[in-house]
């Protein structure tokens, strides 16, 4: 992966990453509005499913999409710095008030695609578990190898940030992160953890699979 071009060397590369924190701060404090909504598109603007790429660490390593030990026993663990930790089954999540939107997906690589996502607003879950005052970040874990992400609480509370279980009106498929994935049109694709297993509220900023390898942490668009 680091085979091409000059990356700045082992001295500069950590400094570049440190500077990236400044851009994270600007992205969060200057650019991002907690209420501004990403534009919604008509269903006719959807990208054909076969043209919508789907990446997975496990797939890239093994050629097979990850799967939990047993889909039947799958639950989402919500915990950490919260007053009321929860274990949520998929049917419990699907019973909550849902939102559906057709939005543009921005990949860090530069491509875009349009799709419809359906799920429960993350803010709903946050209200159920009631984070403590120390909670400032969320860590999303998955069963896709060691993929995970860290988010700031404000981005998590955005009305378009959802835990999605349907893609283009159909139950989420394995390549898009079934049974449950994080989705939000205000973030780049690599921030949108698929194959979720848990949401943990923390006081320290969690890293992320790609973020630990150098991608900007905030990843807002």
């Amino acid at each position: 992966m680091a085979a091409c071009g000059w990356d700045g060397g082992s001295n500069l590369e950590p400094k570049l990453r440190a500077f990236s924190r400044i851009n994270d701060w600007v992205g969060e404090k200057v650019f991002q509005s907690p209420t501004r909504l990403a534009r919604e598109y008509p269903v006719s603007a959807r990208t054909e499913m076969e043209n919508f790429p789907s990446y997975s660490i496990t797939y890239n390593r093994t050629g097979a999409f990850p799967s939990p030990a047993s889909l039947k026993d799958w639950v989402l663990e919500v915990g950490g710095l919260v007053h009321k930790p929860l274990r949520l089954t998929r049917s419990a999540i699907e019973a909550m008030p849902r939102v559906t939107y057709t939005v543009k997906h921005h990949c860090v690589e530069g491509w875009t695609a349009v799709a419809t996502w359906t799920g429960v607003p993350l803010a709903t879950i946050v209200a159920l578990v009631r984070p403590t005052e120390q909670a400032r970040y969320l860590r999303f874990d998955s069963f896709d190898s060691d993929y995970y992400n860290g988010w700031d609480l404000k981005s998590a509370m955005h009305p378009q940030t959802i835990l999605a279980y349907a893609y283009n009106d159909r139950p989420l498929m394995m390549n898009h992160g079934a049974p449950l994935r994080l989705y939000s049109p205000i973030k780049l694709g690599y921030k949108l953890t698929k194959y979720l297993t848990g949401v943990t509220f923390t006081s320290e900023r969690p890293g992320g699979y790609w973020e630990d390898r150098g991608y900007p942490w905030f990843g807002g668009v």
């Binding site: 501004r36 990208t47 530069g110 150098g214």
Partner: protein, 237 residues
């Protein structure tokens, strides 16, 4: 000492030319810093482009010309090692690139130097004459101030190009938060294309700019380095 015959009529100046101050320290600093930042911005930008060498929504590509469509960018032209490195370099260098540009623009506005640089409607006629001269359709070099009308056109163009590249950059950096700006460029995919076109215009400008320095006014190179100029053109309007 024998005097070397002048290739041009030089607007009546004869004898040894005086050494005059042509460029202030701030202009020289901004010029060379920007040259360095621009090289870094282009190389890291090509590293980012390399991650997706098309323009348009997946399955619905834009019908825009791109000779590099689907082609990887050569290794030597890229900075950052891979996508993350390219992004981090790009978003680091963007700061000094934009700040230098703004300081330079503020200097032009406050000092009044913009008058010798900004191409205005009254420069159209002299620009035509200048072009006729370069095409050898006119014998004498048209009289000029610090810069001729074609130079003014080029230097105005490059400042506008710098602004367009920065604005289109913000448009693709924050297409949701700055949706109004992204729309002004025709949407995310087109904004990304204009950002890319700006690269080739920067490169074309630089090739022409450097060629003309050596072909027409090599003394101006010293002027842009030390500030002092002993050449055949006036240094003030």
């Amino acid at each position: 000492m024998t005097s070397i015959p002048e290739p041009f009529s030089d607007q009546g100046v004869s004898g040894p030319r005086p050494l005059v101050k042509r460029y202030g320290a701030l202009v020289r600093l901004a010029h060379w810093l920007n040259a360095v930042f621009l090289v870094g911005m282009i190389a890291s930008g090509l590293q980012i482009y390399n991650a997706y060498t098309h323009f348009g929504i997946r399955g619905d590509l834009l019908p825009v010309p791109n000779p590099l469509d689907g082609h990887p960018v050569p290794n030597w032209a890229r900075l950052g090692g891979w996508l993350a490195g390219g992004l981090n370099w790009h978003f680091l260098l963007a700061w000094p690139f934009v700040i230098t540009g703004l300081v330079y623009l503020a200097f032009l506005a406050i000092s009044g130097e913009w008058r010798s640089l900004v191409f205005r409607p009254r420069d159209i006629g002299p620009a035509v004459q200048m072009q006729l001269y370069y095409l050898k359709l006119r014998k004498e070099h048209p009289s000029q101030g610090k810069h001729n009308a074609l130079q003014k056109g080029a230097y105005t163009f490059i400042v506008v190009l710098g602004a367009i590249s920065a604005l289109s950059g913000f448009a693709i950096y924050k297409p949701v938060q700055l949706a109004w700006l992204t729309s002004a460029f025709g949407g995310y995919e087109l904004a990304r294309y204009w950002h890319f076109v700006a690269v080739w215009l920067f490169i074309a400008f630089t090739l022409l700019h450097v060629s003309l320095v050596f072909l027409v006014d090599p003394a101006s190179l010293r002027g842009m380095i030390t500030g002092w100029y002993r050449g055949r053109f006036p240094s003030h309007d």
